[in-house]
């Protein structure tokens, strides 16, 4: 007896079921990727893409922090900028007053009155030097809590802040100092070549003017040179601040460009190409329908339908 080979009925049904469910699963997968907008449902569908997506998303999160930090740095720098503009105004006003005092026609009383005004400018300068940053700490004191400058018994401004300004990382491996320390702004040399600071220099002129006499006019004349030096110091510092602000702006533009590039990469790596997916869905649906009608036709073919009766 030979063993005959024929298609068995159960294998026909098993094969048909396998094919139809496989097509159905593919249709579901495409449908899912269209509705979720992401090409892969699980990381194991494409581990490399998933790894890239994770790192890109981490970079997105980090970029958010970087942007916030950059904004804070910018805010501090703007505070510093406007405080320093005010300082420049003060010094210019001091120069105008000192120029008046340097003319020989003024009386001692008039010079003393100018000296008083200079004293007010001095204290205004000290309070400007003690400007708070966005955190409420000393803006020109390296971020210490409390004041950058205190006035000692002899009326001199004494620096009490940190040696360096606060440094913030603003992304892309870059960091920026969010301000300048007091000595970086106010250190200068007076007309005689002695080291001093702007507040003390104005104070010294004020003291000399209040003292009156012939030396007052000389002091005012020397004071003009001193104040010019002071103005130079503050405007130079302001230029540094301005340069840092534009550096942050540049860096932020860089970050934005990177963020856009990341978004593009994310959609390319993990996003669904809707038109391709839609065409694939159409193709699969057609195949599924065809398979279904094939199955119905084939399964209705049975000899039992035609034999006997």
């Amino acid at each position: 007896m030979t063993i005959t080979t024929s298609t068995s009925t159960s294998s026909f049904y098993a094969t048909a079921a396998g094919q139809l469910s496989s097509l159905q699963a593919q249709v579901n997968a495409v449908d899912n990727s269209i509705s979720s907008g992401s090409q892969y449902a699980t990381a194991s569908a494409n581990p490399e893409a998933a790894a890239q997506m994770r790192m890109l998303q981490l970079q997105d999160a980090t970029a958010t922090v970087d942007t916030a930090t950059a904004d804070r740095a910018t805010a501090n720098l703007q505070l510093a900028d406007s405080a320093m503009s005010q300082m420049v105004n003060d010094i210019n006003q001091a120069k105008t007053l000192t120029t008046q005092a340097a003319t020989g026609t003024l009386s001692d009383a008039q010079r003393a009155s100018i000296g008083t005004q200079l004293s007010q400018i001095q204290s205004d300068m000290v309070s400007l030097a003690n400007t708070k940053d966005v955190n409420g700490n000393a803006l020109f004191g390296g971020g210490v809590s409390g004041s950058a400058y205190t006035t000692d018994s002899s009326g001199n401004a004494v620096y009490g802040g940190a040696a360096t300004s606060q440094t913030l990382a603003i992304g892309g491996g870059q960091s920026v100092q969010t301000s300048l320390t007091g000595p970086e702004i106010f250190s200068m040399t007076d007309a005689n070549g002695n080291s001093t600071n702007v507040m003390d220099a104005i104070g010294a002129i004020a003291t000399a003017l209040k003292a009156g006499g012939t030396s007052a006019q000389t002091a005012a004349q020397n004071g003009l040179t001193t104040l010019s030096n002071g103005l130079d110091a503050v405007t130079t510092a302001q230029t540094v601040i301005g340069a840092r602000e534009s550096w942050i702006t540049l860096n932020t533009q860089n970050l934005t460009a990177q963020s856009t590039a990341r978004a593009t990469a994310e959609s390319q790596i993990g996003g669904t190409d809707v038109s391709t997916a839609a065409i694939k869905l159409q193709q699969l649906t057609t195949a599924l329908q065809a398979s279904q009608s094939c199955f119905v036709r084939l399964s209705s073919l049975s000899l039992f339908n035609d034999i006997g009766n």
Binding site: T42, V65, A169
Partner: protein, 455 residues
């Protein structure tokens, strides 16, 4: 002569009836698992008597000598082997997917990112209470994420270990049943002599169906090598031809499993260790091995983060000016926890700084230490490792599934019931029966006419 014709016709009618019975049986079992299509083996009866002469015509009709069980042992073992491989791949994929889900859904990667980013934010103002609170929050979220991952992995491990134990118990039950079938096959062997030859009895055909079905079931759990004896008794070795014997004749050896200290499962028959090359138990073992590796890596990562943060804490001063104390306790993913809920415990300032210091020296050192440690990349590698394993296992499974489908489909084509063929057989044997009846009628007519002649 006429009586001979009558007996020939009756043997034909009987044979056709048996063939119709078999056809009916085939149709009834068209969708029975493990049923192999039967057919009747018919032999012509033409034996001459001892006293007959050489030229005598001696026709005695037909006899059904046995049942043919249309099983091709090569196709059967091929279907069993590929089925075993597919079962292994399927359980590997399912186990690894559980591991992937456990690690992925715990959100460890995101939590690490949130923690390191909260430290970056703290640099904006190291003395700020709310920023410090968000660091503590980030830290405890990260610790919880590690704990969730460890718990999910542990649950997955328990589940996989349970599957191995269940599989082993199933194999033992099935081998016991197989030994019973072996005993019966051995006992009925005398009925046909050469037992597993094509022609057999209907009882033995049914026993062989059961035997093959049991072998199929065992091979779903573990890869087996089978040796069929001439009397139809099958001997089974587990883990391939060189593996220890599981069933020999009517005796069975018990498969046992023990949990190793690392959580993986070892198999043995008696004292002989078993290494499986297929079957769902092998797949579970593969998944358990991967799970152990992932779990170790996760523990190492959690420990390294805790170590880096705690070591750095000791180098700095916290918000009260005191030397920083450890922020994390525990050295594994399961035990990682925050020791404090107070933001002031974070040592951001250099050692010896005054209280409420805004000095970020130690915070920068911590950020730098974490940047060097790079826990996010390590975690990403762990995640890619497991999802890569799932992907390659899935690809392997798809390939094996194709092979297995092809093998079982060719086995089904060869051994399964085709209703159209049975329909033809039904008509064929019905006509044979009717024809035999006609022969009987003819014999009867002849006999009657002879009777009338003598009367």
């Amino acid at each position: 002569m006429t009586s001979s014709l009558l007996s020939i016709a009756s043997s034909g009618a009987q044979a056709a009836e048996i063939a119709l019975d078999i056809t009916g049986q085939n149709i009834a079992n068209a969708s029975t698992d493990g049923y192999v299509r039967r057919s009747a083996n018919m032999d012509e009866v033409a034996s001459s008597n001892s006293w007959s002469t050489a030229n005598d015509v001696s026709l005695s009709g037909v006899v059904v000598s046995g049942i043919v069980r249309n099983a091709d042992s090569f196709l059967q073992s091929e279907a069993r082997r590929t089925g075993s491989d597919t079962a292994q791949a399927t359980s590997t994929v399912s186990g690894l997917t559980d591991v992937e889900t456990a690690v992925e859904d715990s959100g460890v990667f995101t939590a690490i990112g949130t923690f390191t980013n909260s430290l970056k934010s703290l640099a904006e103002n190291p003395a700020d209470g709310s920023l410090r609170a968000s660091v503590i929050q980030g830290g405890s979220t990260m610790a919880s994420a590690f704990q969730i991952a460890a718990q999910s992995l542990s649950a997955t491990q328990t589940g996989l270990q349970g599957e191995v134990s269940d599989g082993v118990a199933q194999v033992n039950t099935l081998t016991t049943q197989l030994s019973t079938i072996n005993t019966q096959l051995s006992a009925t062997a005398g009925a046909t002599g050469a037992a597993d030859s094509v022609v057999t009895t209907s009882d033995r055909a049914s026993l062989m169906d059961q035997r093959d079905s049991l072998l199929d079931q065992i091979s779903q759990y573990a890869d087996i090598a089978t040796t069929v004896q001439p009397d139809g008794v099958v001997n089974v070795n587990i883990g391939g031809v060189s593996g220890p014997p599981l069933v020999s004749g009517s005796t069975t050896n018990t498969l046992s499993t023990t949990t190793r200290t690392d959580g993986t499962q070892a198999l043995a028959v008696g004292n002989a260790a078993v290494t499986l090359g297929g079957g769902s138990i092998a797949g579970n073992q593969t998944a358990l091995t991967k799970l152990t590796q992932i779990s170790t890596n996760l523990d190492r990562l959690a420990g390294s983060i805790a170590q880096a943060v705690n070591a750095n804490q000791a180098n700095g001063a916290d918000l009260t000016g005191a030397t920083g104390t450890a922020l994390f306790s525990g050295t594994t993913a399961a035990t990682l926890a925050m020791t404090t809920s107070s933001g002031s415990a974070i040592a951001t300032a250099a050692a010896g700084s005054a209280a409420d210091s805004t000095d970020p020296t130690n915070l920068s050192a911590l950020s730098a230490a974490l940047a060097t440690l790079d826990p996010s990349t390590t975690m990403n590698t762990i995640l890619t490792d497991i999802s890569g394993s799932v992907q390659s296992a899935t690809t392997t499974q798809a390939t094996l599934q194709t092979l297995s489908s092809a093998a079982s489909s060719s086995l089904a084509s060869q051994a399964g019931v085709d209703l159209n063929t049975e329909a033809i057989n039904l008509v064929k044997f019905q006509q044979a029966f009717q024809a035999s009846s006609k022969v009987m009628q003819t014999a009867s007519t002849i006999f009657t006419s002879i009777l009338n002649l003598t009367a």
